[in-house]
Symmetry: C2
Subunit: 297 residues, 2 copies
């Protein structure tokens, strides 16, 4: 019998763990994110997997902020262009209380001017997506991983060729309670018109100026805070699209790896730019990527 394995995605706000037996998920568990832990990360992890260890699991493979400085164990960043073997080679491995722990390397892209763009966790989803969809390993493809720090990645013949991070999700959260969203508004809902108005306002670029419209439409045209929240969501996602594509549609089908609600918003915005989209299951991509690191010796 192959011994059970533990794989997990430990991000800023959430720890998700899966127990695998002969490659199949037999159990799952959640825990707190790496940011703001009260206990040492090692103790949090050991506590979360105690019963699985009692059951024979001896190996843990993680991706995400677990590998950041101040996380569980620093794993470094592998530079683009990056293929799967190069990435696996950079995995950090260490022993923890008798466990063999591996942490996936993040990925860095040189932006010029002395700046590098960074990802931790999304590279695992990208390699997982390629493993699950071999067509993605031939030719050039654009994938979007929306979230707090949304990423647009180009994969080219199986390699992560380049990517760019956007502060979209964090900025949306930070603007709550501001002059734009005076009341903490609920998450943007299905008010298609307000979302579309935000995307359209983004079309000419100029985010700093367009942000003010969120406020002036409330002061001047009596729009509600709920309208403003949805408009702002459209404006930010639309601005991200403009920054990456201008107002012209991306050349080919865009793949979106993300939570269903957020992926739907991105698909709606990209449709207004004339782009076709396909959604990939984020958890499946994460698991497939983790299996690659887990299998590496």
């Amino acid at each position: 019998m192959i011994e059970p394995r533990i794989v997990g995605d430990w991000g800023s706000t959430r720890l998700r763990l899966w127990r695998l037996e002969e490659g199949q998920v037999t159990d799952r568990r959640e825990g707190p994110g790496v940011i703001g832990l009260q206990l040492a990360p090692a103790d949090v992890l050991l506590d979360a997997i105690a019963s699985w260890r009692a059951d024979g699991a001896r190996r843990v493979t993680l991706c995400g902020m677990a590998g950041a400085r101040g996380g569980l164990y620093e794993a470094g960043y592998a530079p683009c262009p990056l293929d799967a073997p190069q990435w696996a080679e950079r995995t950090a491995a260490f022993a923890l209380d008798g466990l063999a722990v591996r942490i996936a390397a993040g990925c860095a892209h040189d932006r010029g001017g002395g700046f590098r763009d960074l990802m931790r966790g999304e590279e695992t989803q990208l390699f997982g997506a390629m493993a699950l969809n071999p067509a993605l390993t031939v030719g050039r493809h654009l994938l979007i991983l929306p979230g707090t720090h949304s990423k647009w990645a180009v994969v080219d013949n199986g390699r992560i060729a380049s990517f760019r991070s956007f502060l979209t999700g964090e900025l949306f959260a930070r603007l709550r309670g501001s002059s734009l969203l005076p009341e903490p508004a609920s998450a943007p809902g299905g008010e298609e018109a307000a979302f579309a108005a935000g995307v359209e306002a983004a079309r000419d670029g100029g985010l700093l100026g367009n942000l003010f419209l969120t406020r002036s439409a409330q002061v001047d045209a009596g729009e509600s805070p709920e309208w403003a929240s949805t408009f702002l969501s459209g404006l930010l996602i639309g601005s991200e699209c403009v920054e990456m594509t201008g107002t012209a549609p991306p050349a080919a089908l865009v793949r979106i790896i993300g939570a269903p609600g957020l992926a739907e918003h991105y698909a709606a915005a990209l449709a207004r730019f004339g782009a076709g989209t396909e959604r990939l299951d984020a958890d499946a991509c994460t698991l497939a990527g983790l299996r690659m690191i887990d299998a590496y010796d």
Copy 2:
């Protein structure tokens, strides 16, 4: 003897009042802004000017958020293009406990798509600037009024022709305590290199993506939170310049009406875009504009 007059600028965060005698400032007073008052605005005002009233003042002229809905008395917005007589005509006047109170109208600019841009207070500074600098009433001029909601205004032969608002100052404040500025950082100082790096990063547009560099430079290159704060200031002010001017310098001298420290940052950023700047005294402009409304019958 001409009776003493009271003029004031009542903004979101601050009330500033001046007592004028034969046009000269003889006293000044400060109070809380319109936002978050515990008492009714009328009571706050009457309390602040009690001793001046006892001294014979019977007339109060205000600009700014005092004229907003929920302020002291709603004063409306006059649309661009707008000249001084049209503006004065739209002044709101009402009686308050035996005082004759006037509140300057704000100014609105049609942005298209059903949106209007708005200002309250800056129009008073712009008309004041033209009163103090008659050269500004001939031909076309660009003026910047930096602040929480920074404004770039075009005046054309004595009229406010158009303007645009930017969320620059508010966004800077809102990003404190975020993943970009993990510690509440002090106001950006004179670290010229960090500020210049921010302005240069803004040059290619793409604010959402460039914001992430504030974070990645700390994670990846070990830059300090203080560096990040100054870089972010340069990035935001630079982005504002790019949105208004692209990467080409504005045609002529740009006038800046603002607090000295902030005006200096804008001058430094604009210099990197090849623009010459001249600074106008903000208080003098406010007072000159208020005198115009005060003199209107």
